[in-house]
Amino acid sequence: MRRPPREPPDRELRDRGGRLSEVAPRIGVVVFPGSNDDRDALWALAALGAAPLLCWHAEASLPELDAVVLPGGFSYGDYLRCGAIARFSPAMQAVTAFAADGGLVLGICNGFQILCEAGLLPGVLRPNGSLEFVCADVPVLVERTDTPFTARCRPGQELVIPVKHGEGCYHAPEGLSDDQIVFRYAQGSNPNGSERDIAGVTNEEGTVLGLMPHPEHAVDPLLGSGDGALVLASLVDAARERLYARA
């Protein structure tokens, strides 16, 4: 499908009516006790042409899905370590199996922490270097555009996306390849002390991505930035391709 060059990130919102003929991929948003960005993610995915549905953490099986989103929040009170307990929920067992089959999984903020604890992504997220909760719009650089989550971005593109977290300091395992770093905070804008300015990483296959910034809060330019739509719309595109491949 050809797209006009330099498509503005909010194009989907304006063109929503014109895209109704396109099939909407099914994207599950897992709700844990303590999730609080699940409905924003649901709204954003629907605005970008997906058919999102909420999946309850206690369900041991997922409905037929083309992608999964783990939303932000404080799952299970973030007790012990962020994401450490959510990892054992029945829905996460299903998400792990889904990812093992090559399914697309996006973890945002607490979702990123859960994916790291579950071993679906390398590394771990630690308390911010400042020990303070940060809430700010930050510039984030796209390091790779050949992933299902960034295909709509230009290489090196700077996206402005909000962060809001107390534990977003990424600690990389030894030998983490640069190929797995999909997003970095722009120089001088690292809000949490993450190693190598890492804001988002992918698994080796490129099918699971976690990031601390919240693209679902940056989908409508009216709210400050529409740049997050590039990330989520890339996911919707990739999920749609999965849907076609499945059909």
């Binding site: 012990l80 370590r81 450490a84 307990i85 054992f88 604890e117 590394g123 771990v124 630690r126 308390p127 911010n128 270097g129 400042s130 020990l131 300091c169 600690h171 395992p173 002390g193």
Partner: protein
């Protein structure tokens, strides 16, 4: 059987909480060196012997109580 698990940030891992404690202690006039902050977990474990309890708790540590990437743990079993 009572047991205690000590979870610590591994050497070389940045510990901002420990740094904050260290600088507060210095401000209070205590001439401390490096401070590191970990976690204590007291457990009641059903096991036939201390050795069995230890093995069981090791599995708990690997699975949940500690993240081996950044934390080390120590197990003490009473009796």
């Amino acid at each position: 059987m009572r047991a205690t698990v000590l979870v610590r940030p591994k050497a070389g891992i940045l510990d901002p909480q420990g740094e904050a404690v260290e600088s507060s202690l210095r401000q209070l006039g205590f001439p401390v060196g490096e401070a590191r902050v970990g976690r204590v977990i007291d457990l009641d474990v059903e096991a036939a012997s201390p050795a069995e309890a230890r093995g069981e708790i090791e599995r708990m540590c690997e699975g949940l109580l500690a993240n081996p990437l950044i934390e080390s743990y120590e197990i003490e079993v009473d009796g």
